[in-house]
């Protein structure tokens, strides 16, 4: 009888550990999900590469794809935000540049953070930025207008069936909370977002 009880306690302890491990697994799903997003392009996060990684011989001279620039401002942020030109035709493999205009409409200095998203998701795998205003927070003085640049390359391996893609940015108010910043930094290093 007692032997049984001892064994039962052992079993219970092991199972308890499994439960605790699964709680941890719930948290582990966060980085796993981010890696998966990068590999499969779920949710359209974009990659970052350095200028030197772009090889000019990759350029496909006969192919043009349309890149659209969509802009959103979270209602909590008193800014306006527009792309200078709504769309561009670019050659895959070539570095291209787009300009965005942002204005702080309020009477305070405000910090914003732009979050990019690409549609279709699959295209995000081939969409790499060498320079982007979304890599860092942007601070705008009251009433200030700023022109911001994004330099990007659409990879020449982009599947043929993709002819149009949209690069969408949403500007959010950057939280002053330190904890948030650390999370952002962690996430960015995971996602290679800069």
């Amino acid at each position: 009888m007692n032997l049984m009880k001892n064994n039962a306690t052992k079993t219970a302890k092991k199972l308890g550990l499994v439960a605790v491990a699964m709680f941890g697994f719930g948290y582990l799903m966060v980085p796993i999900y981010n890696v998966l997003c990068e590999v499969t392009g779920i949710n359209g996060k974009t990659g970052q590469i350095s200028q030197s990684e772009v090889k000019i011989e990759d350029v496909d001279p006969d192919r043009l794809v349309t890149v659209e620039f969509d802009t959103n401002v979270n209602p909590n942020l008193p800014w306006t935000f527009k792309a200078k030109k709504f769309k561009q035709r670019v050659r895959p493999g070539e570095i291209a540049e787009a300009i965005f205009i942002v204005k702080n409409e309020s009477t305070n200095s405000v910090v914003g953070q732009a979050i990019p998203s690409v549609a279709p998701e699959l295209a995000s795998l081939f969409f790499n930025k060498t320079e982007c205003f979304c890599f860092v927070n942007q601070t705008l003085a009251p009433g200030e207008t700023k022109e911001m640049v994004v330099r990007y390359v659409v990879g020449s391996e982009l599947p043929e069936k993709i002819t149009t893609m949209t690069l969408s940015y949403t500007f959010f108010k950057a939280s002053e909370d330190v904890a948030t910043k650390t999370i952002i930094d962690q996430k960015k290093s995971i996602k290679n977002n800069g």
Binding site: M4, K5, N7, A8, T9, T11, A12, L15, G16, V18, A19, V20, A21, M22, F23, G24, F25, G26, Y27, M29, V30, Y33, C37, T40, G41, I42, N43, N74, Q113, I115, A119, E121, L122, T170, F172, K173, A174, S175, D177, V178, A179, T180, I183, I184, K187, K188, K191, N193
Partner: protein, 530 residues
């Protein structure tokens, strides 16, 4: 009757008064408490669904504010899933697992007591939110951010209630596994275990693997709201869709956590009333295990519309379709058990047959929704409300009710009123179909779910549905009456109770003494299930 039983009778002293229940470590008493609690919650959740059906009886808003309506929808689901279905399953396991495997009690009786008493506490937390600023949770039982973060003061109560419910069910699951692994009577090998016990082992493993993930998810919600993390907040680099992945990684196994105990019950009932051994015991065990395993790879069929890459959509479509295979095997095995048997149709058998027919209907619509391109139309409509209510009400609740009728004579020592039982079955079956079948139609025709008001073309079907709902709700009072009547007295039950019953639990007296199998019985091929 074994020697052990006669021996037991000598020290059959139960504690008396309220202390018997508060501090109980007896698996039978705790089982009873779980079942009574589940029945109460069934009526609490049921009352909320009556509010929902009353509001939907006609187009226009007649009785409640839309926000309160959303709370009703949300809390109805939470109460039914975590308060009625899961505790009822654990209650049956508490009562029957030790009796079926020849153990004197559960392996960890004190933990058993605790895991039960956490439940009323957790539901007090949850239901108290109705009286708070901002009201009760109203973002759906799925708790998707950012919507759920808009909840007022009730939010932390929701999170902690989920934590406690998770802890309670994990403790229950651990106890069941520890019991079956360590306390089987000599000769009770794994492949001789009754299928109900097998179903519960697999359920318990699912619980241990899935519930902590939900706990993790809601903890992230809590820190997102109060401690500045940004797991699900796009502004901080997070992603609200990730919560859906975490939730459904728990959520799909959860639906099998709910249904497997019911499958276990009907695997006991059908052979008994067919007077024939269960067909394909081994394949039943493997089918159940593979359903459980596969259930961890299909979760994203709940979120096809979030916008996944093609490969993801294809993977989850194929995985979902593949679950139909082991599920089919189970259905066919039950049919083969009935085939060329010698069937009688007492109430438990009626409910079991009801499960076979109506769970299948839910399975068919499940298969349809697993087809991704068409699910883009079905998703978040009344079609899916029809689907999961078919699998949950006539699929799971009917199984549990069948189990209650099946074992009630064993528990109380008295036969229940068969006529009332049959009446309960027929009214429930007719009304449940009037209630849920037309939901397929309005869903296909375009009525979204979780809405307090609808455009007028849906009015006619909705009134019929509401009538079905009221009749179904009222007819459950028959169950309460049957149980009360049976506890108070009636024709005495024999030890075997049912002509075709086999297994250790039927060798005990009806009702069984307070302590059973203090000396373990010997199990041989002849006394095992088949």
């Amino acid at each position: 009757m074994s020697e052990a039983v006669i021996h037991d009778d000598h020290h059959d002293h139960k504690p008396s008064g309220i202390g018997r229940w508060l501090f109980s470590t007896n698996h039978k008493d705790i089982g009873t408490m779980y079942l009574v609690f589940a029945l109460i919650m069934f009526f609490v959740g049921g009352a909320m669904s009556m509010v929902i059906r009353a509001e939907l009886f006609q187009p226009g808003i007649q009785y409640v504010d839309p926000q309160f309506y959303n709370s009703m929808v949300t809390v109805h689901a939470l109460v039914m899933i975590f308060g009625a279905l899961m505790p009822a399953g654990v209650g049956l396991a508490n009562w029957m697992v030790p009796l079926m495997i020849g153990a004197p009690d559960m392996a960890l009786p004190r933990m058993n007591n605790m895991s039960f008493w956490i439940l009323p506490f957790a539901f007090t937390l949850l239901l108290s939110t109705f009286f708070m600023q901002g009201g009760a949770p109203a973002g759906g039982w799925t708790m998707y951010p950012p919507l759920v973060l808009q909840l007022g003061d009730g939010f932390p109560y929701l999170v902690f209630a989920v934590h406690f419910l998770g802890i309670s069910s994990i403790m229950g699951a651990i106890n069941i596994i520890a019991t079956v692994f360590n306390m089987r009577a000599p000769g009770m090998t794994f492949m001789r275990l009754p299928l109900f016990v097998w179903a519960w082992i697999i359920t318990a493993f699912l619980l241990i693997a899935a519930m902590p993930v939900l706990a993790g998810g809601v903890t992230m919600l809590l820190t997102d709201k109060y401690f500045g993390t940004a797991f699900f907040d796009a502004a901080g680099g997070g992603d609200p869709v990730m919560f859906q992945h975490i939730f459904w990684f728990f959520g799909h196994p959860e639906v099998y956590i709910l249904v497997l105990p019911s499958f276990g019950v009907i695997s006991q009932i059908i052979p008994t009333f067919s007077r024939k051994p269960l067909f394909g015991y081994t394949s039943m065990v493997y089918a159940t295990a593979s359903i459980a395993f596969l259930s961890f790879f299909v979760w994203a069929h709940h979120m096809f519309t979030v916008g996944m890459p093609l490969t993801g959509e294809l993977f989850f479509m194929y995985a979902t379709m593949s679950i139909a295979v082991p599920t089919g095997v189970k259905i066919f095995n039950w049919m083969a058990t009935m085939w060329r048997g010698s069937m009688t149709f007492e109430t438990p058998m009626l409910f079991a047959i009801g499960v076979l027919f109506m769970f299948s209907i839910g399975g068919f619509s499940g298969l349809m929704m697993g087809i991704t391109p068409v699910d883009f139309q079905y998703h978040d409509t009344y079609f899916i409300v029809a689907h999961f209510h078919y699998v949950i009400v006539p699929g799971i609740i009917f199984g549990i009710i069948g189990g209650i009728y099946f074992w009630l004579p064993k528990w109380t020592g008295n036969m229940y009123d068969e006529k009332l039982g049959k009446l309960h079955f027929w009214i429930s079956t007719i009304s449940v179909n009037v209630l849920f079948f037309p939901m397929h139609f309005i869903g296909l025709a375009g009525m979204p779910r979780r809405i307090p008001d609808y455009s007028v073309q849906f009015a006619d079907w909705n009134s019929i549905i509401s009538i079905g709902g009221f009749v179904f709700g009222a007819s459950q009072l028959i169950l309460v009456w049957v149980v009360i009547k049976c506890v108070r007295g009636g024709e005495k039950a024999t030890d075997q109770v049912w002509e075709g019953a086999h297994g250790l639990e039927w060798t005990l007296p009806s009702p069984p003494p307070f302590h059973t199998f203090t000396t373990p019985p010997k199990v041989t091929d002849a006394t095992a299930h088949s």
